[in-house]
């Protein structure tokens, strides 16, 4: 069950949903979020128990997860065969018209990020920071997955910042960028706490600007691409996890 809270919300009839879910022979909860957040805690408060928790991402959170009443498994969010093929067909992105993009719900930090990107990198970036709760749900004016993908295919650098203070790498943001031929870049003042092999994590916009000037967006993107393609396919990692669940 991927993201049970959202499933219950979207299905509408939560009681029926949990009843059906409880009748399943085995239940595995799959999440991709920081384990310190209240969103993660909310997933554990639902009236259903699980046989295992699979944490999808680039960095294991086992040491941070604390005591759970189910076994923890880390699943590296590697590429699928289809994504590998898509990445192999990508062309040089340095001539793309949009210098950078940042998308997410609005926080003070993200407003600062967008303003600094406009001042230090290029004024003409793509900015969509709607109020929390908007931007992803139907009929409230949203950029959906197709729109996001179309935008990233015209963009050189996809920049984001977490909406919380915990050190967590959003692997799906990386995936969205890299499969669209866009350079993924996370900005976190605590950049040094992340494993050094994950590319594109910078402490500030000025650091990103320096890297882009020194190496160029194309070389940086290739480096990120190489990291991703050399990390093993999602299917293989999943197989390993499922054999131990």
């Amino acid at each position: 069950m991927i993201n049970p809270v959202d499933c219950a919300y979207k299905i509408g009839d939560a009681a029926k949903y949990f009843s059906r879910l409880s009748s399943a022979r085995r239940r595995i909860m799959v999440l991709a979020e920081a384990v310190e957040t209240r969103w993660f805690e909310n997933q554990l408060r639902l009236p259903v128990s699980y046989d295992a928790f699979i944490d999808v991402g680039f960095v294991s959170q086992e040491h941070k997860v604390g005591s759970l009443d189910m076994p923890y498994h880390f699943l590296f969010n590697g590429p699928t065969a289809q994504e590998e093929r898509k990445i192999a067909q990508l062309e040089d992105s340095s001539g793309r018209p949009i210098a950078w993009a940042t998308v997410g719900h609005q926080t003070r930090g993200r407003v600062e990020l967008a303003a600094q990107l406009a001042r230090q990198l290029h004024p003409g970036g793509f900015v969509f920071l709607p109020n929390p709760g908007r931007g992803v749900r139907a009929r409230v004016g949203a950029i959906g997955p197709r729109g996001l993908s179309a935008m990233l295919e015209k963009t050189r650098c996809y920049v984001w910042e977490s909406h919380h203070q915990y050190d967590y790498f959003e692997s799906f943001r990386f995936l969205e960028a890299i499969t669209a031929g866009c350079l993924p870049c996370k900005v976190d003042p605590q950049a040094t706490v992340y494993p050094s092999e994950i590319p594109g994590i910078v402490a500030s916009i000025s650091e990103l600007s320096d890297h882009l000037e020194e190496k160029g967006v194309q070389a940086m993107r290739r480096s990120a691409q190489q990291f991703y393609l050399s990390s093993g396919r999602l299917a293989h990692h999943l197989q390993d996890v499922l054999t131990s669940v």
Binding site: Q106, E112, A115, F126, P130, G141, I143, G147, L148
Partner: protein
């Protein structure tokens, strides 16, 4: 003898009286006195000014930079500053500015009496020499390099209005974004789209121009709701249009704290409580390098 302490008067009363006077003043404004042929396909940057002398140079600098950017792309443009009978000596500054930049590039109009924001916006549309008009309040700044993005967006979509993110700056800090979301039902509850936007002048004039329907109801909010009611397309462009410098105690801050104006707008545009307009028809997200990026 001790000085008698008078009870504090609600400052909104003065604002209300001023607005009523302004609405009466609009009766004396004649379209033919200001009308210019709108044969230009370019854009007029309209800067309304009322007692914003200290901030006007910043807005004007950004507008002049925008004109330079448009020049390099072969887009015709002009700046139109209209002073609403300021009392802070703004006219002296405007005379100097006019002397420096006189000609097709910059025009100045000084009102003899204060007519208010709505009337001033209408005068700007009458006096504009171009199809499109960007309203840039005298205390705000446009990001010059980004103006072509917004101009292309409104041209490509034939929208009545195009707007984009404004970075709200206060005490030198970036506080929030406004004008940052497409048109949604939330507009019936509160206005999040500022007047700092581009409008298609012939369309707005055809639909009756800008009106202040209540002393406390902001004219920019009313315009957006009116365009929705008329099923005109309003485009949110996901780029940064400029900086919104919020001054403490500004007229807009006072208006936002009132509820009677908001109720007046809801009575006109959502009286029955029914949402009989479809945001899908009017509120779209568009970027000229991508196309429509919204999904419904």
């Amino acid at each position: 003898m001790s000085e008698e302490r008078l009870p504090a008067t609600d400052p909104r009363l003065y604002t209300s009286l001023t607005r009523i006077e302004s609405n009466l003043a609009t009766r004396y404004l004649k379209k033919e006195d200001y009308w210019c042929d709108k044969s230009g396909d370019g854009i007029t940057i309209f800067i309304p000014n009322y007692n914003h002398r200290p901030f006007l140079p910043r807005a004007l600098r950004s507008a002049l930079d925008a004109l330079d950017i448009l020049d390099t792309r072969g887009v015709e443009s002009e700046i139109l500053i209209i002073d609403d009978a300021s009392r802070d000596g703004s006219q002296r500054l405007m005379r100097d500015v006019h002397a420096l930049y006189n000609g097709a590039r910059l025009r100045v109009i000084c009102m003899e009496i204060n007519v208010g924001q709505a009337a001033l916006w209408n005068v700007a549309m009458w006096a504009s020499r171009h199809r499109y008009l960007l309203r840039l309040d005298a205390d705000n700044e446009i990001i010059a390099e980004n103006l072509p993005i917004f101009l292309t967006a409104i041209e490509n979509t034939n929208a009545a209005m195009a707007y984009g993110n404004l970075v709200h700056v206060e005490h030198g800090e970036f506080r929030s974004l406004i004008s940052h979301m497409p048109v949604t039902y939330e507009l019936l509850r509160r206005n999040y789209i500022d007047a700092f936007s581009i409008v298609d002048v012939p369309t707005i004039i055809r639909l009756g121009g800008v009106r202040r329907i209540h002393p406390y109801a902001p004219e920019d909010w009313e315009l957006v709701l009116h365009l929705i009611a008329e099923e005109q397309t309003i485009i949110f462009v996901p780029a940064i249009m400029g900086y919104y410098h919020k001054q403490a105690g500004s007229a807009s801050s006072e208006l936002q704290q009132t509820t009677s104006g908001n109720e007046a707008l809801r009575r006109v545009y959502a009286q029955s409580g029914l949402r009989d307009w479809d945001p899908e028809m009017v509120g779209r997200i568009y970027h000229p390098d991508i196309g429509y990026v919204d999904e419904w």
